[in-house]
Symmetry: C2
DNA sequence: GATAGTTTCATACAAATGTTTGAAATGCAA
DNA sequence: TTGCATTTCAAACATTTGTATGAAACTATC
C-alpha cells in the first residue's frame, strides 16, 4: 500500500504556489522544492505537469459542485420538493462566494486556488471546464420547479447572470473595494450573496413582463470595428 | 521620419495571433514570422515582449473607453445633462458587447483580441487594468446624476453587476449557448445589451427598499474550508 | 533474508524562449 | 559623395522549461 506522502505533498505544495503566484510563473522545480521531493516525482506520480493541474482543479470542482447540490437538496426538502427561486440561486452562488470572499488573510488555500483559476484560466483547466454544463443543468431543472410559468430562455439567462455576478465579484472584489473606497463591503459575505441573489431574482421576475424595454440601435463602436 | 512599417506590421501580426491562439502559446518567433520581419525587430521597436502586449492592450482600451464616454455624453446631452440610468449603463456595457458579441465569423481582430484578454489575463495586462478605475468613476458620477436619491454604495454595486454580466457574457457566450441549446441567442447583440441593462436597473431600483431579503446564514462549505 | 515491485534520486536531455550583439543595409542631410 | 543616424538582419546567448533515464533505496512478500 503506497503511503502517498509524496503525492500528497506535491498536491499541497502546488496548490499553495499556484494560489499565491498564479500558474504563469510557477515551475515544477518550484513545486518540488516547496514539497521537499525530487523533481522526477511529479512525472512519476502524475504523468505530466498538466495532469497535476487538472487533478487539483477536478478535486476542488467536484467538492464545490457537491456542496452546491447539497444546499440545493436541503432547500428543496425544506420546501417539500419546491424551493423558492432565491434558495435555488443561493445554493448556486453561495458556496463559491462563501469560499472565495471574506477577509483576505483568512482565506484557505483551496479558496485562493479557485480564485486564481477564475482569474487566469490555463488550457489544462479550460478543457475540463466544459464538463460543468451537466452540473448547471441540474440547477436549471430546479429553477423550473420554482418558476414553472417562466420560459426556459429566461431561466437560462437568470442562471447565467447570477453566476456572472458571483464570478466577477470573486475576480474583482479588490477593484470594487478600491473603486468604492471601501464603501462596498466585500468581506460581508452573506451580504454579497444576498445582493447577487436578489438582483438575479429581480431579473427573473421582471422578465415575466418583457417588451417595455427601451430599444435603441447603435453602430459597432469604432474602437472594435476595423482590422 | 520613420515609416513605422515594421512597427505596425508587428502590432497587427501580434494582435491577430493573440486573438486566434491566446497569449499562452504565441512566441516572438511566431509573431515575426507572421509579420515578415526580423526577430530582433520586436525588441528594437518595443523593448520587450511585455511592452508589445501592453501597447496592444492600451490602444484598444483607450478606444473602448473613448467610445463609452462618447455614448455617455450623447445620452446626457439628449437628456439635458441628466440621462436615464438605463442610458448610462447602456453606454457602459454597450461598446463592449457590441464589439465582442455577434456572429463569430464576423468578429474583428481587435474584438477577438479583447475577448482573449478577458479570458486569459496575463500579468503585463493586469498591471494596466488597475488604471481603469478612474474611468469607471466617471460613470459613477453619471449614475449619481441619474439617481440622485440612491446611495453611493448602491450605485457602485449596480455598476459592478452591470459590468459583471457584460464581461461574463463575453467570456462565456459559448457556454451559455450550449447550455441553453441555442435558445439564448447571444448573437442578438442589442437583445443582450437590453437584458444586461434591464437586470442592472432592476437591481438598482429594487435596492431602494432593501431589508426584506431572506437572510440565512450558512457555514463555509467543506469544499473550501481547510488547508 | 532473498526477491520482486515500487518509489526516490541525481543527472542528463532536448527543445524553446526572450533577449542581445555587432555588422550590414538603408535613408537622409550637407 | 560623404557622413551620420536609423533600421534591419543573421546569429548567438543564456536561461529556463518539462520530461526522460537508469541506478539506488526502500518495502513488503514469500
Amino acid at each position: 500500500m503506497p503511503s502517498d506522502q509524496t503525492r500528497t505533498a506535491i498536491l499541497a505544495a502546488a496548490e499553495r504556489l499556484y494560489a499565491d503566484r498564479g500558474f504563469g510563473d510557477v515551475t515544477l522545480r518550484d513545486i518540488v522544492a516547496e514539497a521537499n521531493v525530487n523533481l522526477a516525482a511529479v512525472n512519476y506520480h502524475f504523468g505530466s505537469k498538466d495532469e497535476l493541474i487538472a487533478e487539483l482543479f477536478v478535486t476542488r470542482s467536484l467538492a464545490l459542485n457537491k456542496e452546491r447540490l447539497r444546499e440545493l437538496r436541503e432547500a428543496e426538502e425544506a420546501g417539500n420538493g419546491r424551493a423558492d427561486i432565491s434558495e435555488v440561486l443561493r445554493a448556486l452562488v453561495g458556496p463559491t462566494l462563501r469560499g472565495c470572499l471574506g477577509p483576505e488573510n483568512q482565506r484557505s488555500t483551496p479558496a485562493r486556488f479557485m480564485i486564481r483559476v477564475s482569474i487566469e484560466s490555463v488550457p489544462a483547466i479550460r478543457r475540463i471546464r466544459n464538463r460543468e454544463i451537466d452540473h448547471l443543468r441540474k440547477f436549471v431543472t430546479a429553477m423550473r420547479r420554482s418558476l414553472p410559468d417562466r420560459s426556459d430562455v429566461e431561466l437560462y439567462w437568470g442562471l447565467h447572470f447570477a453566476l456572472a455576478m458571483a464570478q466577477q465579484t470573486v475576480r474583482d472584489s479588490e477593484r470594487l473595494a478600491k473603486l468604492s473606497d471601501g464603501k462596498c463591503d466585500v468581506d460581508d459575505v452573506e451580504g454579497v450573496i444576498r445582493r447577487v441573489v436578489d438582483v438575479a431574482v429581480m431579473g427573473l421576475n421582471g422578465a415575466a413582463h418583457a417588451g417595455k424595454a427601451t430599444l435603441r440601435t447603435t453602430a459597432i463602436p469604432t474602437s472594435l470595428r476595423g482590422a
